[in-house]
């Protein structure tokens, strides 16, 4: 087992660790400004904030889709800034799951194969991908919609397909960017319920939402404004506790 400089074993490395993270764009716009953040494994965190506050940037950093211009982002101990494209892609394929506001399902492709594509880049063979996709669809309550194409599904069902795709690879960390943003209240509540269930199963869940009511269901809430974390409902455990 590898040992970190701070003495923590690999098993208890935090899921996410931001140290002085800044993301600025050419022209001087600062989306994030010196953010420190620690998310332990197994937490469920809601990030709230007005649009343009930088909350999506936080999520993209955690998802290794974006890299900080200053500071370090560690995801399960990996320094995102130090990894090349192949290593980041592998991290995303095996460790992270994404859910988007607009679902991003492939049109004209049945739910089963949309979900199975969540495993495509892990190198699993097609037969295994489909078998696990079937199980994942069952888990989100869509066992009877396996052969349906996205346009044959309601918005809530589509988002559940997308969640199935995000969790089909059993990721350690699930990232959801406004997962209920395009849904009605009932479907939104269903989706949030699903995410809470996954959290209950031990998956670390970080969800962005503008809906304070939904955010209130998360055990921990972070408020982001003007590129800074302005409120954290539950300060994380102090470092070094084993």
């Amino acid at each position: 087992m590898s040992v970190r400089e701070d003495g923590r074993g690999a098993r208890d490395v935090p899921a996410v660790e931001f140290t002085g993270v800044t993301r600025s764009y050419p022209g001087g716009v600062r989306a994030l400004d010196g953010v420190d953040l620690l998310v332990e494994r197994g937490e469920m965190v809601a990030i709230v904030g007005p649009s343009g506050s930088g909350k999506s940037t936080v999520l993209n950093m955690i998802g290794t889709l974006d890299a900080p211009t200053e500071g370090t982002v560690r995801v399960f101990g990996h320094d995102v800034g130090a990894l090349d494209d192949g290593a980041l892609s592998a991290l995303r394929a095996r460790t992270l799951g994404f859910v988007f506001q607009r679902f991003h399902l492939a049109p004209n492709v049945r739910a089963l194969d949309n979900v199975a594509d969540g495993l495509l880049y892990t190198g699993a063979p097609l037969r295994e991908r489909r078998a696990r996709a079937r199980a994942a669809l069952e888990r989100v309550g869509l066992a009877d919609r396996v052969g349906h194409r996205p346009h044959e599904l309601s918005g809530g069902q589509r988002q559940r397909v997308a969640i199935a795709r995000a969790v089909v690879g059993s990721p350690d960390l699930l990232l959801a960017d406004e997962p209920t943003g395009a849904l009605d209240t009932v479907s939104g509540a269903e989706v949030m319920g699903l995410l809470r269930g996954l959290h209950g199963d031990g998956v670390t869940v970080i969800v962005i939402t503008h809906d304070r009511e939904l955010a209130a269901q998360a055990p921990r809430r972070l408020e982001v404004r003007d590129g800074r974390v302005v409120a954290d409902s539950a300060a994380p455990l102090a470092e070094g506790v084993s």
């Binding site: 494209d85 892609s89 592998a90 991290l91 994404f98 991003h104």
Partner: protein
């Protein structure tokens, strides 16, 4: 560097996540998925490639079929025939073949059989005495022997060739175009033509004689009746020589000297099968031109594929972003779009080969040729389209891979 530091670095490298390699089948499936989503566009842009490939395959196929037909014709007619005719004298006048020419050629060891014809000067051919004298149609009259048909391997399409009994009768066998000009389409006992003021009954019509096209526009009469009725002299105007197929070239070199030992250069010796083959070779220029045109069509098709791919990459930024989030490396995205372009182009190529083969088949059937399409034409076309797809898809694939995942995901 301290030892522990080195160890740490090594272990960091070992901990570094390594992307999985997709199987070739998965690459293929992923590349093809982009095509399945937009069938109409796929058909249209593959069509450009298909037309170019079809044109090139058809040119190769038609020329191969023509060559196959020529080979079959030559196999049937033999390449061992040599034609001996008088050339011109040293002073530019018309030479003649000596009377004994045929006998001497016959005695050559390389020669298997000979036949001679005599062009009868001054005799004109008319369908009847009502035709004005000027409208003779340029049909020549030749005195021939019974043996001529077998030497030339000529065939009759109507009636019959001479037999021993008809050569001294006023009977005539017409060449293919002579019969057409005279309007002889069937033969009855009273089918007559007027030759040099005498009525001759038509006993047969020949199919075009490939090895002696000069006989196509001719009226052939028996040598005896030619001499009796038309004033023929018995001097050969052309001698047709069948040689031992193994020694044709040798015979060709020697025949002039044998035909006219005093003036061998006044003898014109030719091998008609060479002329047939040369005619085929003359088509090469046209073929080259057509191939060039096909190449241009192919190029345009390739540009079409590139265009389709550029648009596809622009439209599918969301998909690219998603795939990156699912763990696709830049390389995987690059391969996906490259495979898609190659598959698109290949689709056009396969369709084009089929279309080109069909065109060749129809053309060969219409011409009565055997169908021939060299395997390398199909294989080359398919390989070429894959290469074109790779070239056309390269830039779009690089662009797709260079997309920033965040921007791609937020694109409409």
């Amino acid at each position: 560097m301290s030892r522990s530091e080195a160890r740490k670095r090594r272990s960091a490298r070992r901990d570094r996540p390594r992307p999985a390699r997709l199987s070739p089948l998965d690459h293929l499936r992923t590349g093809a998925s982009g095509l399945r989503a937009r069938p109409a566009r796929v058909v249209l842009s593959a069509l450009g490639i298909a037309i170019g490939i079809a044109a090139m395959v058809a040119v190769v196929g038609i020329s191969a079929s023509g060559r196959a037909d020529l080979e079959a014709t030559l196999a049937r007619l033999g390449t061992d025939l040599i034609t001996v005719a008088p050339g011109s004298t040293f002073f530019g006048g018309d030479a003649t073949l000596p009377e004994e020419a045929r006998g001497r050629i016959d005695r050559m060891p390389e020669v298997e059989r000979t036949s001679q014809v005599e062009q009868v000067n001054g005799a004109k051919v008319y369908r009847s005495d009502l035709v004005p004298a000027g409208e003779s149609g340029g049909i020549g009259v030749h005195g021939v022997g019974v043996d001529l048909k077998d030497t030339l391997r000529a065939r009759t399409v109507l009636g019959e060739w001479f037999n021993g009994a008809t050569t001294d009768h006023p009977a005539v066998v017409l060449g293919a175009s002579a019969a057409e000009r005279l309007g002889v389409t069937r033969i009855t006992p009273d089918t007559l033509v007027l030759i040099g003021g005498e009525y001759f009954s038509v006993v047969g019509v020949l199919a075009p004689v490939e090895l002696a096209p000069e006989l196509d526009n001719a009226a052939l009469v028996g040598q005896e009746s030619a001499e009796k009725l038309l004033g023929a002299t018995g001097d050969p105007s052309t001698i047709y020589v069948r040689t031992d197929p193994e020694r044709t070239a040798q015979a060709r070199d020697l025949i002039g000297r044998n035909a006219n030992p005093e003036h061998p250069n006044e003898v014109e010796v030719s091998r008609p099968s060479d002329a047939l083959a040369a005619g085929q070779a003359a088509d090469r220029t046209l073929q080259g031109l057509l191939l060039g045109l096909g190449g241009v069509a192919l190029l345009v098709g390739g540009v079409g594929v590139a265009n389709t791919m550029v648009i596809s990459v622009l439209e599918r930024r969301g998909e690219i972003g998603l795939r990156r989030a699912l763990g696709a490396t830049r390389g995987a995205v690059r391969v996906q779009f490259l495979v898609e372009a190659m598959a698109l182009s290949l689709l056009g190529g396969v369709f084009g080969v089929a279309l080109g083969a069909l065109v060749t088949l129809v053309f060969a059937l219409l011409r009565g040729w055997p169908f021939a399409l060299p395997w390398w034409a199909g294989a080359g076309a398919v390989a070429a389209t894959v290469a074109i797809g790779a070239v056309a898809g390269l830039l779009p694939a690089l662009r797709a891979a260079a997309q920033h995942p965040v921007e791609a995901l937020s694109a409409d």
